[in-house]
């Protein structure tokens, strides 16, 4: 087989031989292209699949685990949350605006396909440092806003980080959260012989052909030539599509809904048929086109956006069409469900491709490689060589909260409509966002989290921390964490060190998921995030949702009332490894990330939920990067209130820098009225959690008496001004 042709469809010679064996013949070009995209890493997960099986996906609230358009968990009162996170890294590297915009568009359709109404978007973004990466940053943020704002779904949260390793390979991970009545949940199973396949939405063009294969290659100088593989979004059409689907969700003639994403029609039909245990017959001549002269190959592989496949009961299509026409949507019956387990593609009355569904899906190859741990002495940290007393605690604090990685991302989220829907009861800027469910008091808390620096230093620990911290974000709002959607971003797994990272990260995640009782219900893997041989940090982004029964009892991060006591929940250690303090104040990227005591973590979280549930607290904030003092400063800035603390006595082995800026896990800053104190202490004893009184809310300064004092005004100016 010509090497050039195989490279075009991103298959190896060995994979080609397997195809010939499976089919008992040589595939034609259309078939080869179809198999190529579905066997790509992006669609088949061939490298990560053996590891992914280790992740827990079951739970009493799980209605739908991995393998569908999105995962679904029950939240009570007949409602469920459908959610998923997905990467759009490579398209965004090449064409940041459209890459990010279509990333949002794709994830919205995944959630809509479950019968859910999308109610929130979150975006986890990573770039190289500014100003060098300004064009990518600007393009991606504009693209997310351009799509999300137009489609009318609020963008309520996410992350933005800047590290050298993402300079040429930014990460754009988009998460969508939707709500659905449990009895209206749809599944994308092509079932019922003779039922019709209805293609709805945009006409099909040549855009995005080989997008999935492109996502499965390293970026290099030739990537620029792949710009045509990036799709162009039309959020107005998407909005009409979502509204039409909402009207059709409980229509008995609609058997299933499937999004057309990566690998277009080929993937959509193959996956839906595989789930339904059926086959399908497609007539490409019936597919509405936006340009002439398209070959069957191009039609089957196009990744034109804003398209959905509906399976409709034969003979009942006339019942569905008025809704599609009301929303001015193009549609066409392009084929039907067959009982033979084969995907047959016809063009011009002739068979253009005929492939068993299982060859396209479950027979996709699985790769097992060999991992190798990197040299354990790299990034070694000798804490004794660093003075334990910061030169100026105040100076360090101001530099930390003014650093783009720790400062407020208001400059970003004010460019997103985060209020449309009248449901955003916790807006962006704190720990997790919260969306209320109309007609109930249910609140859905949601967040994304990953500290990829920790993961680079120790992928196993870093992955555990990503999950523990995401859960703390949720818990800090008073909501109970329910489930995870993960987006695993890695470099080229053919490198033994990267393969080792993948294995370590998934082991760490599996461990933390079990300890915290959190199933992973959907997700996505993005490998080959390399540019010219350099890999990104391992970046397992954790998207998490939680629920609170009564959103009027939610907590926010900002201090809420003068005279309240401010406490630190959780014990502190000399956890400076991988910390922002070492990076910003000492120029060091070194050490081991903090250990995660998962039992202790769980105890701290249960303590917080008990305290919040008993209405003992006025605010709660997760202690993360920058440690206790940065978290305390944020609680002041967000609440627009000062806090006065007695000087902190150094305690035993604890270093002064670690006391203020160490990143020990399992900690929160809380504030509470004095009447809550006895019960908070009782609860702490019962949950075996340490709590420490820091000070009292009031005034316009953050002050540690006798040590230092800083005004709210000065902190706010730096915290909100990092992107000016």
């Amino acid at each position: 087989m010509a090497a050039k042709k195989l490279r075009e469809v991103a298959l190896t010679e060995a994979e080609y031989q397997t195809i010939v064996e499976l089919l008992g013949r040589t595939p034609n070009d259309v078939e080869l292209g179809m198999i190529g995209v579905l066997w790509s890493e992006h669609c088949s997960y061939k490298t990560s699949k053996p590891f992914l099986r280790r992740l827990p996906s079951a739970g009493s609230r799980v209605l739908q685990g991995p393998g569908e358009n999105a995962g679904v968990v029950e939240i009570g009162e007949g409602w469920a949350v459908a959610f998923k996170i997905e990467s759009h890294n490579h398209p965004s590297a090449i064409e940041p605006y459209e890459g990010a915009a279509t990333g949002v568009g794709g994830i919205l359709r995944d959630v809509a396909a479950m019968g859910a109404r999308p109610v929130a978007i979150l975006d986890s973004l990573r770039f190289g440092p500014l100003p060098a990466s300004r064009h990518l940053f600007e393009g991606v943020v504009s693209g997310i806003g351009g799509y999300g704002n137009c489609v009318g779904v609020p963008t309520v949260g996410g992350e933005v980080y800047f590290e050298d390793c993402y300079a040429d390979n930014p990460l754009v991970n988009a998460m969508c959260v939707g709500v659905v009545r449990t009895d209206q949940l749809k599944r994308a199973r092509a079932e019922g012989d003779g039922n019709l396949l209805l293609l709805v939405g945009a006409d099909t063009g040549r855009d995005g052909i080989h997008g999935a294969s492109f996502a499965s290659l390293e970026l290099d100088d030739s990537s620029e030539q792949r710009r045509p593989a990036v799709q162009v979004g039309n959020p107005f059409l998407e909005k009409c599509l979502i509204e039409a689907l909402q009207e059709l969700v409980d229509h008995p003639a609609v058997v299933a809904i499937q999004d057309l994403g990566a690998a277009g029609l080929t993937s959509a039909v193959a996956e839906a048929a595989a789930r339904g245990g059926s086959g399908a017959l497609i007539d490409v001549d019936k597919v509405p086109r936006r340009e002439g002269g398209m070959t069957p190959y191009e039609v089957m592989l196009s990744e034109s956006q804003e398209r959905m496949l509906l399976v409709v009961e034969r003979g009942r299509q006339a019942e569905v069409m008025p809704v599609l026409e009301k929303w001015d949507l193009h549609y066409a019956v392009i084929g039907e469900v067959t009982p033979d387990g084969v995907l047959t593609v016809e063009a011009g009355g002739r068979v253009a491709a005929r492939l068993p569904i299982e060859v396209l899906t479950e027979k996709a190859p699985v790769r097992t490689l060999r991992g190798r741990a990197p040299n354990p002495t790299r990034h070694r940290l000798d804490l004794d060589s660093i003075p334990a007393e910061p030169e100026s605690v105040k100076g360090s604090l101001l530099r930390l909260i003014g650093h783009p990685n720790l400062a407020s991302k208001r400059a970003v989220f004010r460019r997103y409509d985060h209020q449309v829907g009248n449901a955003t009861v916790i807006r962006p800027g704190g720990d997790a966002a919260m969306i209320r469910v109309h007609g109930t008091r249910l609140g859905i808390a949601m967040t994304t989290d990953c500290n990829s620096r920790y993961c680079e230093l120790d992928p196993y620990l870093g992955a555990q921390i990503a999950i523990a911290e995401a859960a703390r974000n949720i818990v800090a709002t008073g909501a109970r964490p329910l489930a995870i959607s993960d987006c695993l971003n890695f470099g080229n797994p053919d490198k033994p060190e990267i393969y080792w990272q993948l294995e370590e990260v998934i082991s760490g995640m599996a461990n933390a998921c079990r300890a915290l009782d959190l199933p992973i219900v959907s997700g996505n893997v993005s490998l080959y995030n390399d540019t010219d041989g350099r890999s990104i940090f391992p970046t397992p982004v954790i998207g998490m949702v939680g629920v609170i029964d009564d959103y009027t009892r939610r907590l926010e991060a900002g201090l809420a009332a003068d005279g309240d006591f401010v406490l630190l929940v959780g014990a502190s250690g000399n956890d400076l490894g991988g910390s922002r303090y070492l990076e910003i104040e000492h120029g060091l990227f070194a050490g081991r990330p903090p250990e995660v005591d998962l039992l202790g973590e769980r105890a701290a979280q249960e303590y917080m939920l008990a305290a919040a549930g008993a209405s003992l607290l006025h605010s709660a904030h997760d202690v993360g990067e920058g440690g206790m003092l940065v978290a305390l400063a944020e609680a002041c800035i967000l609440g627009e209130r000062g806090v006065r603390c007695p000087a902190l006595a150094s305690m035993g082995e604890l270093r002064t820098d670690a006391l203020y800026f160490g990143e020990t896990q399992g900690r929160f800053i809380i504030s509470a009225p004095s009447r809550s104190m006895p019960e908070l202490q009782n609860l702490a004893r019962r949950h075996r959690v340490e709590i420490q009184l820091l000070g009292m809310v009031g005034g316009a300064d953050l002050e540690f008496e006798g040590d230092f004092s800083v005004t709210l005004e000065e902190m706010s100016r730096l915290y909100y001004g990092a992107f000016d």
């Binding site: 806003g145 704002n149 137009c150 489609v151 009318g152 039309n234 959020p235 107005f236 059409l237 909005k239 009409c240 929303w327 001015d328 989220f413 004010r414 460019r415 997103y416 409509d417 985060h418 209020q419 449309v420 829907g421 009248n422 955003t424 009861v425 807006r427 209320r436 109309h438 959103y551 009027t552």
Partner: protein, 233 residues
């Protein structure tokens, strides 16, 4: 009384306005699909926020040709209450029911944030329960909310006292720093000479419940409801 909320393809504040009317205000509601001409006996027509027809060409440029807009124009001409919010304001300007235009924010970015507005008119139905000079807090969410009018139009607007809301500091001072989008004279909302057609960029429907950060928006809805009740009596 009955509120009518117009739904164009691409509108997204329709259900937010609708819920405020029915669940918070407790008034009657009809959704009016853009292809229908029947206003269903509504007493106040809301043109809500969103990206009608994707805001293709210009914001609001295509929506003005919708069948429903013929009826809205006739309704307004007979003194009916028409209230354009955000994209609805843009549609009213395109339709010619209000003068001027909304152009791209001077910051060249979309802005979703809270703003303070000083109230300049309390003698129209939309602001009947507010007081002239008071400051209310309502969020904006737009990329093209920069109000512009030529000098002659602007001076007519000011002379006729048609500016209803201006972006201001929390203490009511109208200064450039309080202007989120570059609007001329800090204009956030205007009314026609007759006082029955209001256009405003901020979203009152987004602050009708304390859980969403404020209730000043509800006061506008209540103004219409109460003023209308008195009118009918």
């Amino acid at each position: 009384m009955k509120f009518g909320v117009v739904v164009f393809p691409g509108t997204w504040s329709d259900r937010d306005c609708g819920r405020v009317v029915t669940e918070v205000l407790g008034a009657e509601l009809e959704y009016l699909w853009h292809q229908e001409k029947d206003l269903k006996d509504c007493d106040c027509i809301i043109l809500p926020g969103g990206f009608s027809y994707g805001d293709h060409l210009r914001c609001g440029a295509i929506a003005r040709f919708s069948p429903v807009m013929d009826s809205v124009v006739r309704f307004a001409a007979h003194g009916g209450l028409v209230w354009g919010i955000c994209n609805g304001f843009q549609v009213l300007c395109e339709t010619g029911l209000l003068p001027g235009a909304l152009i791209r924010n001077d910051v060249c970015e979309f802005r979703c944030q809270w703003t303070h507005l000083v109230v300049e008119r309390d003698d129209i139905l939309f602001t009947s329960t507010l007081r002239r000079g008071e400051v209310i807090k309502i969020p904006i969410s737009h990329g093209e909310g920069n109000y512009f009018a030529d000098a002659a139009t602007l001076s007519r607007l000011e002379q006729n006292n048609q500016v209803v809301f201006r972006y201001a500091q929390p203490d009511g001072h109208v200064v450039p720093a309080a202007n989120p989008n570059g609007s001329i004279h800090n204009i956030a909302g205007i009314v026609n000479r007759e006082g029955n057609v209001l256009g405003m960029m901020p979203h009152p429907e987004r602050c009708a419940e304390p859980e969403l950060g404020g209730t000043d928006g509800l006061r506008l809805f209540k103004s219409v409801l109460e003023a209308f009740a008195e009118l009918v009596v």
